[in-house]
């Protein structure tokens, strides 16, 4: 009996490793290990830190696409709103810390900052759903994907320029969140900020996964993404779910923006790079596939780190883009397949 179960598990693992998803994951791990052995541990560390944050942005993007059918191109601006909020919240905290280096705020201050950014992100998400997307939903049911896409591009331009108008175009950054000597892992020095930002990303991803899999509301979100009418038929209110989805995904992007403030200072178009990277991830993983996006984020991060390492830092957009073209030609539904049956079905 036990042998049989064991055999079945092995069979499943074997089958999985033969599928596109399995091969891609195994290949990523192999390449990551090989590059680490070749160049040293910092390759792995950089991949993991970049991947963790990218996962947050990409997950939100996949969620909005899967549930609301919106190809979101304003997602980078929620990242920007996160970093902007973090700057204005952290600056006074930082001044206080400099005067009182022993206060508890040295540790908790950055966390407060990130939570504040998360809340602001969620509120802006709610605002954009209520003021923009639900208005479009009332008026246009046909050609929804195209119309909402154009709307998100417009929203992006408006938000970037609003930032420039009210807060100026200069770089608003900080030097560090957590003071103290870097942590050493595998002979690599990792700054505390990087280590913390990865830990935060990991926690958020795990919490999010639990929420989507085991809670009533999380399941309702998945139900809406799989069949809107089916969800209505079992009594799920669409309006609430759409509002929640939007605010969730915006707050994820804002968390990423806030946690990375020490690397990316807040300026009007800071969101563009994470936006493009997240789109790479989402296309690679399959549109609307939220968990695939997490894995995809680490793949794209690895690809980016390796490109910078072996080819040169100017190429880090070219190689992922080339890969996306290859994926779209040979496996248009993405490596991990997708929970969305194709945009045209809806």
């Amino acid at each position: 009996m036990v042998e049989q179960v064991e055999k079945r598990i092995w069979e499943r693992i074997f089958k999985w490793s033969g599928s596109a998803a399995g091969m891609a994951v195994i290949m990523t791990v192999v390449v990551a290990v090989a590059a680490t052995l070749d160049r040293g541990g910092y390759v792995l560390v950089n991949t993991v830190v970049t991947g963790g944050m990218l996962a947050l942005v990409a997950m939100g993007l996949a969620l909005v696409f899967g549930v609301m059918n919106i190809p979101m191109f304003a997602h980078g601006e929620y990242f920007m709103i996160g970093s902007l909020t973090a700057y204005y919240v952290f600056t006074p905290i930082n001044n206080y810390i400099t005067m009182h280096p022993d206060s508890a705020l040295t540790f908790i201050g950055p966390l407060i900052t990130i939570v504040a950014a998360m809340i602001v992100g969620a509120l802006v998400g709610v605002a954009s759903e209520v003021l923009v997307f639900s208005q479009l939903r009332k008026r246009s049911r046909e050609n929804w994907v195209m119309n909402s896409f154009l709307l998100t591009v417009g929203l992006s331009v408006v938000l970037i320029n609003a930032h420039q108008l009210f807060f100026g175009a200069d770089f608003k950054g900080i030097t560090r969140y957590w003071a103290g000597p870097p942590i050493t892992v595998m002979d690599v020095f990792i700054s505390r900020d990087r280590a913390m930002s990865f830990a935060l990303a990991a926690i958020v991803v795990v919490v999010f996964w639990f929420f989507m899999t085991y809670t009533r509301t999380g399941r309702a979100i998945r139900a809406v993404s799989q069949d809107e009418n089916g969800a209505l038929m079992v009594g799920i209110g669409l309006k609430g779910i759409l509002l929640l989805t939007m605010s969730l995904s915006c707050s994820l992007a804002a968390i990423a923006g806030a946690s990375l403030l020490f690397m990316y200072p807040a300026y009007p178009s800071v969101g563009l790079e994470p936006l493009y990277m997240a789109w790479f991830v989402v296309i690679l993983a399959g549109l609307g596939n939220v968990l695939g996006a997490v894995m995809g984020a680490f793949m794209v991060a690895l690809l980016k780190v390796l490109t910078i390492e072996y080819i040169g830092s100017g190429w880090d957009f070219v190689v992922p883009s080339a890969l996306i073209i290859v994926v779209l030609i040979f496996k248009p539904s993405g490596i991990f397949g997708s929970e969305v049956r194709g945009i045209l079905d809806k």
């Binding site: 139900a223 069949d227 089916g230 209505l232 038929m233 079992v234 009594g235």
Partner: protein
């Protein structure tokens, strides 16, 4: 009267499908709505269930107007629709689909009762409980769709085309489970293209043609009606 539809007009955009449809369903009745393709049978059910909003007319459920309410509110009042497309959550397992069916029920014990009830009615689903809904056969999916509808403990079950795309043997078993439900006191309104079969099992029927109710009466009378026999049965 459990359900009263009065002079209902409905359709999609500018396209009007239903014209002055009036019908009633009493508690415990087994009512059918038959008619040729494109007559508006499915639209009638969807309008009652709140997936299509009516242009004019009244829909009363337990004496309360429900016309124009969104689908989720209608579902909460106790109307479950099993649509033709089934609208299952294809990337969830059978068990998860059934759990979603009980979304409106907060009480864990009641949920468990409903699940036992559905598994009792469709023992096939017990074997498949951990399978993804999208990977099941047409008959099993139909059972799952009906099962999911029953999970919310509805007062009125609307079933759209229970036999659509099923082999005769499976059709028979789906009809049998509907029969079992009727015997237990459920109220069912069924839409079908298989006119002979439907009229032989239901109590009362409506004939819908071009969006209008052309005939109504006891199913046994309808089955003998000259017009029905000419149009649907070809005799």
């Amino acid at each position: 009267m459990l359900l009263e539809v009065k002079n209902l007009n409905a359709g999609y955009g500018f396209l009007q499908i239903l014209r002055d449809v009036s019908l009633t369903v009493d508690t415990g009745e087994y009512v059918c709505l038959v008619g040729p393709n494109g007559a508006g049978k499915s639209t009638t059910l969807k309008t009652i269930a709140g997936l299509v909003s009516p242009m004019s007319g009244e829909i009363l459920f337990k004496g309360e107007p429900i016309g124009g309410l969104p689908g989720n509110k209608v579902a909460r009042k106790g109307i479950a629709l099993v649509s033709e497309a089934m609208n299952l959550f294809v990337n969830m397992t059978v068990q998860e689909n059934l759990a979603m069916g009980a979304y409106t029920i907060r009480d864990k014990r009641l949920q468990k009762d409903r699940l036992d009830f559905v598994f009792d009615l469709f023992p096939r689903l017990v074997e498949r409980r951990n399978q993804l809904a999208g990977t099941m056969s047409g008959g099993e999916r139909k059972m799952l769709a009906i099962g999911r509808g029953l999970m919310s403990n509805p007062t009125l079950l609307l079933v759209d085309e229970p036999s659509f795309g099923l082999a005769p043997l499976l059709t028979e078993s789906v009809f049998q489970s509907l029969d079992t439900l009727i015997k237990q006191g459920m109220t069912i309104m069924v839409v079908e293209q298989n006119v002979t079969k439907t009229l032989s099992v239901t109590d009362r029927g409506y004939v819908l043609e071009n969006g209008r109710i052309e005939l109504s009466g006891k199913s046994s009378d309808l089955a003998c009606d000259a017009h029905v026999r000419k149009v649907f049965l070809g005799v």
